[in-house]
Symmetry: C2
Subunit: 253 residues, 2 copies
DNA sequence: ATTTGACATTGACGTAGCGTCAACGTTTCT
DNA sequence: AGAAACGTTGACGCTACGTCAATGTCAAAT
């Protein structure tokens, strides 16, 4: 039998057969005078066995270990391992499909949005035009949104809801404007302390609680992100938030 | 933000970030005077979005197509496609686990066998010692065994059962010996025709039916394999089987 | 002032299991 | 005899990065 016949017989490509030769899975058969490989029945048997194991999902390395004979691994052990692996894969895929279903349900409502439905609703109601700081704020929200699960997003949406009343929106606009104006100011500018105080008054209670809850570094990192992200704000703006958190903490006590 | 901070923030490696740059998934940010990449908040947002899609199982190519904006593909369409793909994967894995369970159950009974339990039982009962042709025969059985499903194997085991009686075994031994003896003979040796006739008498009825059922080439290839495998037999032995099939066919009519 | 350590840069190789040329020789059919 | 269909070895390509390697930059410890 030549390589093409063998391959057709077992249902693989000639490339596959030669690949198994190079890996040592299938021993090289005798060569004819012209250099062609000449296969016997036992090669077909072995190749078919290799394929059967491969189609079960064993890696070629594992197959090599199993078919190596005495000093190889026990087939049973490998199969059990494989079954456990497949079970894990099933779980992973099932979880993915669940998340996919959620995403698709969201997309049904908000077709062309890069963020979740909850956040999209908030962003729609929150002002953004004209303020550089508002843009940063939205970006931060979008960032935490991508990493959040449904529960967290619902909490945040709840927290942010008080900010969408007409009065809160007006005050929010003003505060964004004042933050923008601090762009070039120094951290000791008198407007800094005033703005921090006004911000403290503007924030919903729940939000203040959430911010101070994780303000000590031992907790999770959700609000620590705020620090990391402060790379993009000016010193004066950063000072506003330092004062703000300090005020909230004092108020808490 | 420098690349390490960005990577830690989103939870990927710096290598991954640079990889996305090279693929064009993530735009290259400004460089500092020292050549370091300087990231902004929006880069983190985009990177987090990419990761969310990647963790769902989208390929980076697909993510590129989705995030490409206007001329890209619709996210919804891609997600539906992905879901269908995951569903297929689930089916494949479930089928594998079923076959694995069968294999494991077999291994429970026949721990160190390379063939199925059914065939192992047959091979145990069938004689093999000393005959080259018997070895070939066993190899052929092993070959079709690897490709067979449970139903087919049960059928074959049933077909082969009549051969395991003491009298059949004795006749089988003799027939194997006579086949071996034909090794160097020509196809027109007088013993050829005689052996073909005796073989026809030896074969169980069901087996003869199975052999002739697929003797015309329009059918499946299970018995056509026999032809392919005849590479390993001598001309005289091949002639025996040609005559055998012809006799069985005539008898059938 | 220097050494160390932690960061950054680009470039290249390795991974699994083959598919797919390329460049060439052999067999077989017409 | 020419073409089609096989065989040979060798090499690159594919995914999504991990993992050096060789080198540069920056802050802190000596």
């Amino acid at each position: 039998m030549r390589i093409g016949e063998l391959a057709a017989l077992v249902g693989v490509s000639t490339r596959t057969v030669r690949h198994y030769h190079r890996l040592g899975l299938l021993p090289e058969p005798e060569r004819l005078h012209n250099g062609y490989r000449e296969y016997r029945l036992r090669d077909a048997v072995l190749l078919a066995r290799i394929r059967r194991l491969a189609e079960l999902g064993l890696s070629l390395d594992e197959i090599g270990a199993v078919t190596a004979g005495d000093r190889g691994r026990e087939l049973r052990e490998v199969l059990l391992e494989l079954d456990a692996d497949l079970a894990r894969q099933q779980e992973v895929i099932a979880a993915r499909r669940e998340r996919l279903a959620l995403l698709l349900a969201e997309a049904e409502v908000h077709p062309d949005s890069a963020v979740s439905a909850e956040l999209a609703a908030v962003l729609r109601d929150l002002p953004a035009e004209g303020s550089e700081f508002a843009r940063l704020d939205r970006e931060m929200l979008a960032l935490v949104d991508t990493a959040a699960d449904a529960r967290q997003r619902a909490e945040w949406a709840e927290m942010l809801k008080p900010l969408t009343t007409p009065e809160a929106l007006a005050r929010g606009h003003e505060l964004y404007r004042r933050l923008d104006e601090l762009g070039e100011a120094g951290p000791d500018d008198p407007r800094v302390a005033a703005l921090a105080a006004d911000l403290a008054g503007h924030l919903p209670e729940e939000m203040a609680a959430a911010m101070t809850a994780n303000a000590d570094p031992s907790e999770e990192r959700s609000w620590q992100w705020l620090e990391e992200l402060s790379v993009e704000v000016t010193p004066a703006q950063a000072e506003v938030f330092r004062l703000l958190v300090a005020a909230l903490l004092k108020e808490k006590k």
